[in-house]
């Protein structure tokens, strides 16, 4: 008997120009563990294209746009950094 897929609550964070592009700083949504960051953002903001410049962090680590998020609880858009 297949185990039912349980949705996970995930917090989405945006920074710098991605905050303006997406129109929010933080949002909590439900996702499936099999979803990838790319799929989640496509669903959340169909007009948004990370291109090759914007990275994604899953649980505060740089991650692959096309790797399922699993049990992650935090997803963040990381536009090119400019600290220092």
């Amino acid at each position: 008997m297949p185990v039912p897929i349980t949705d996970v609550k995930i917090t989405i964070l945006t920074f710098a120009q991605t905050r303006t592009q997406l129109g929010f700083a933080e949002k909590t949504i439900e996702c499936e563990p099999g979803e990838t960051p790319r799929e989640i953002f496509r669903r959340l903001a169909p007009q948004f294209d990370p291109g090759k410049i914007i990275r994604v962090a899953v649980n505060r680590e740089y991650a692959d746009w096309d790797q399922p998020i699993g049990e992650a609880s935090e997803l963040a858009l990381i536009p090119p950094v400019s600290g220092g």
């Binding site: 710098a16 505060r60 990381i78 950094v81 600290g83």
Partner: protein, 126 residues
């Protein structure tokens, strides 16, 4: 090996160095200062924001990588956030080591890594 990471909204106050091991021959300090011209335009200062928990874990990881290559005894890292006026420090890093070469090498690579991978951003406008 001691490392310290601080994000502050107040002017940066460099910590007093600790030479208690008495075996540290070199102390190197770097201040990143906000310049008046940003992309050719005069500005009063810059706004900085950070994804702070990730910035901390990235920095810790970078510290460990660099310390394995360049033996140093202490790294202190302070980044100011929000508005930083022109002429004030947005960044302070100090490195203590037995020998100067390790401190200089670590400092250079640490700033390069900061500017490539640590989620901190500056803006001319809030």
């Amino acid at each position: 090996m001691k490392t310290r990471i601080e994000f502050t909204r107040a002017p940066i106050a460099p910590p007093a160095p600790d030479f208690s091991t008495r075996e540290l021959g070199a102390r190197l300090e770097f201040f990143g200062i906000v310049r008046e011209l940003e992309d050719g335009k005069k500005i009063p200062g810059l706004f900085y924001e950070a994804y702070e928990p990730m910035a901390r874990s990235q920095l810790e990881k970078i510290f460990q990588e660099l310390l394995a290559k360049h033996p140093c005894q202490e790294i202190s890292f302070i980044h100011r956030l929000d508005f930083v006026p022109v002429g004030e420090a947005s960044l302070f890093i100090s490195v203590l080591s037995r020998h100067r070469q390790a401190a200089l090498a670590l400092m250079g690579e640490l700033i390069d890594r900061l500017k490539a991978d640590v989620p901190i951003w500056k803006h001319a406008k809030k």
